[in-house]
């Protein structure tokens, strides 16, 4: 990365979560809590964290897909639409549909198994997007869809197949191709390889990365697998219980984790060729309906201090791009 990187997306003190109906009362579940970061042009930003840490919710909000019971309480998501910044949390769905979604920002969902219409051929999915977003006629849309798919390295029999005929990896590649169809500035990928086998996963991620480089777009990759982040991403965000606990260059974080949670996460992964006893984290992630006071990690933290129990740690910047949210570094 040379020079000052261009920001395409800016997330500012974002707070959002779900409304849950419990009998007659409504409970707010805080899924994303005061998260701020930026996404730069032509980079791969990873978001890592374990189940229930709010990473998927964060991606949804980033995409602007806020539908009851999901709500955004405060903060904003700015995206550079080419002709000025748009706050995705403020504009309405219709606007997003017409001007933002798929043109500026696109989304690769977790379960590619079920997101394609089972009754449409693969090429139909592409043609309809082309037709609707670019207003070109049907025949031409088909031609362009097929050209594009061939260009993306998919075989003809895949193009003419129905979704259920494809293997999981192939389907995921189709969904990736679909997401890149309009050459968006930002691609959000929410666990794109969950459920795939390692080899397929490798192929799919390579494909994703290659395309990101080709279009010089920004890829936000959500995954629970630190290994994937190590292989693919440039920068990494570690989330825990709705909080952003650490952000920095992937290489730095992997080689020198600062936050105790990050450290534990990396430490707990067995490595090939290493049979030495490893230790996992004890305890359970907190219930977000009533998160612990102070640092949300403190009940499981081996270095817990008094202050952790009472006060939330602020984001602390360490050498440039690195931000950690932990009292240890104050």
């Amino acid at each position: 990365m040379s020079g000052y990187p261009e920001t395409v997306m800016e997330v500012d003190r974002l707070r959002g979560g779900y409304i849950q109906q419990r009998g007659d009362t409504q409970v707010y579940v805080d899924a994303v809590s005061s998260v701020s970061f930026r996404v730069y042009r032509d980079e791969v930003l990873g978001i890592a964290g374990e189940s229930g840490c709010g990473k998927s919710t964060l991606v949804k909000i980033l995409y602007g897909l806020v539908k009851y019971p999901l709500i955004v309480r405060e903060g904003s998501v700015f995206i550079d639409g080419g002709d000025g910044k748009i706050d995705l949390t403020k504009v309405d769905d219709d606007y997003k549909k017409r001007h933002v979604w798929w043109r500026i920002i696109s989304y690769i969902p977790q379960n590619s198994m079920s997101v394609l219409n089972p009754l449409q051929k693969i090429k139909d999915h592409f043609a309809e997007n082309l037709r609707i977003h670019m207003g070109i006629d049907k025949a031409q849309a088909y031609r362009r869809a097929v050209d594009y798919l061939l260009d993306m390295g998919l075989q003809e029999d895949v193009i003419d197949a129905y979704p259920h005929q494809l293997s999981g990896g192939m389907r995921q590649r189709v969904v990736i191709a679909l997401a890149l169809l309009m050459k968006p500035r930002v691609v959000l990928a929410d666990e794109p390889t969950t459920g795939l086998d390692v080899i397929v996963q490798r192929g799919v991620l390579q494909n994703l990365l290659e395309n990101q480089k080709r279009f010089k777009s920004s890829l936000v990759l959500v995954s629970h697998d630190i290994g994937i982040h190590a292989m693919v991403t440039n920068r990494l965000i570690i989330m825990y219980a709705g909080k952003l606990v650490e952000i920095g260059n992937t290489n730095d974080i992997i080689s020198d984790p600062k936050h105790p949670y990050t450290e534990a996460l990396i430490e707990s992964l067995p490595k090939l060729g290493d049979k030495s006893l490893r230790k996992g984290l004890g305890g359970q992630p907190p219930d977000l309906r009533s998160p612990p006071k102070g640092c949300r990690f403190h009940p499981r933290c081996p270095f817990v201090m008094d202050i952790c129990r009472s006060r939330e740690p602020p984001p602390i910047e360490i050498n440039g791009n690195r931000v950690v949210s932990c009292w240890l570094y104050k």
Binding site: G23, P286, D287, S290
Partner: protein, 301 residues
């Protein structure tokens, strides 16, 4: 703190029966249940029916509803009977037919589906073959033939059995499909590995999963049975000497032409009760299925 609360929740979960839970959480179920109970309560008034309420011409005929006595509350019929007592008895009798049908048909379907699903192999093939055969035979003619054939011996339980014959095949197929997918679930294997016998696995592991569906199916069978009885009655194939919703329609409309003669107090009550009963059971079944699976509000018909 959270753990304590969870513990408390779990206690509550055990203490409150699921029905109560359902009642609390689902408006549809609640409304349906209240309507249903209201109808059953109304029908239960039949225990007070005078001994000769079935006798013809014991009351003046074709009287409009009036408040002078309970007999006259809903008016009288063209054969000099109290609509009120016919209706209350009719509700109970129809429900008896329907409940027996539900008990027979849904369990028959459940049993056949379960056996087919669990035993597999030849048993499965034979049972499914039988099911497919019955699916192919047209229902109403089959019902008519059976009803005519057995009219001499017709009682409510027998009628329920006949209606059951036409209504078990589809549930059996559905149960089988469910069992086949359940069989692949891990907790069934776990149960076997815990040393349970097949019968016990059936009862404790499979039944609870099928039960919700079973309840919905039973509710729908109740609806089907009441409808089938009305259909048979219109053809004169029900037990005409007893009061049911069907025979009330038969006597009022088919035999005494009450519809065109404007004896609305004889024609309307069975239909209104049928509609309310239908709506209440429909709501109950939708309520149950929403409760069991809020995402898939499936109404098995």
């Amino acid at each position: 703190m959270a753990r304590e609360k969870a513990r408390l929740n779990s206690q509550l979960y055990r203490i409150y029966s699921p029905i109560r839970n359902l009642y609390r959480s689902n408006v549809k179920f609640r409304v349906g249940l209240i309507l249903f109970i209201a109808i059953v309560a109304f029908g239960s008034l039949s225990v007070f029916s005078p001994p000769d309420y079935k006798f013809w011409y014991s009351l003046p005929k074709d009287r409009e509803p009036s408040l002078e006595s309970i007999d006259m509350l809903l008016g009288t019929t063209s054969n000099g009977r109290s609509v009120f007592w016919s209706l209350t008895n009719g509700i109970i009798n129809s429900l008896v037919i329907a409940l027996i049908t539900a008990a027979i048909a849904s369990h028959l379907g459940l049993f056949i589906g379960m056996v087919a699903g669990i035993r597999g192999g030849l048993v499965d093939k034979t049972l499914m073959f039988l099911t497919d055969t019955f699916v192919v035979i047209p229902q109403l003619p089959l019902l008519v033939v059976l009803a005519m054939l057995l009219k001499e011996y017709m009682t409510f339980p027998l009628m329920a059995m006949l209606i059951s014959i036409t209504s078990w095949p589809w549930p059996a197929r559905q149960v089988r499909a469910m069992i086949l997918s359940l069989r692949e679930r891990e907790f069934i294997s776990v149960a076997y590995l815990s040393g349970m016998r097949t019968s016990k696995v059936l009862m404790t592991e499979i039944m609870p999963h099928v039960f919700g569906w079973h309840l919905i199916n039973a509710t729908n069978t109740v609806l089907y049975a009441i409808g089938a009885e009305v259909g048979l009655a219109i053809l004169g194939l029900s037990i005409l000497s007893e009061d049911t919703l069907g025979t009330m329609i038969y006597w009022s409309m088919m035999s005494f032409g009450a519809f065109f003669r404007g004896i609305w107090w004889w024609v309307l009550p069975p239909i209104v009760v049928f509609i309310v009963l239908f709506a209440s059971l429909y709501l109950i079944s939708v309520g149950i299925s929403e409760y069991l699976d809020p995402k898939h509000r499936r109404w098995v018909g």
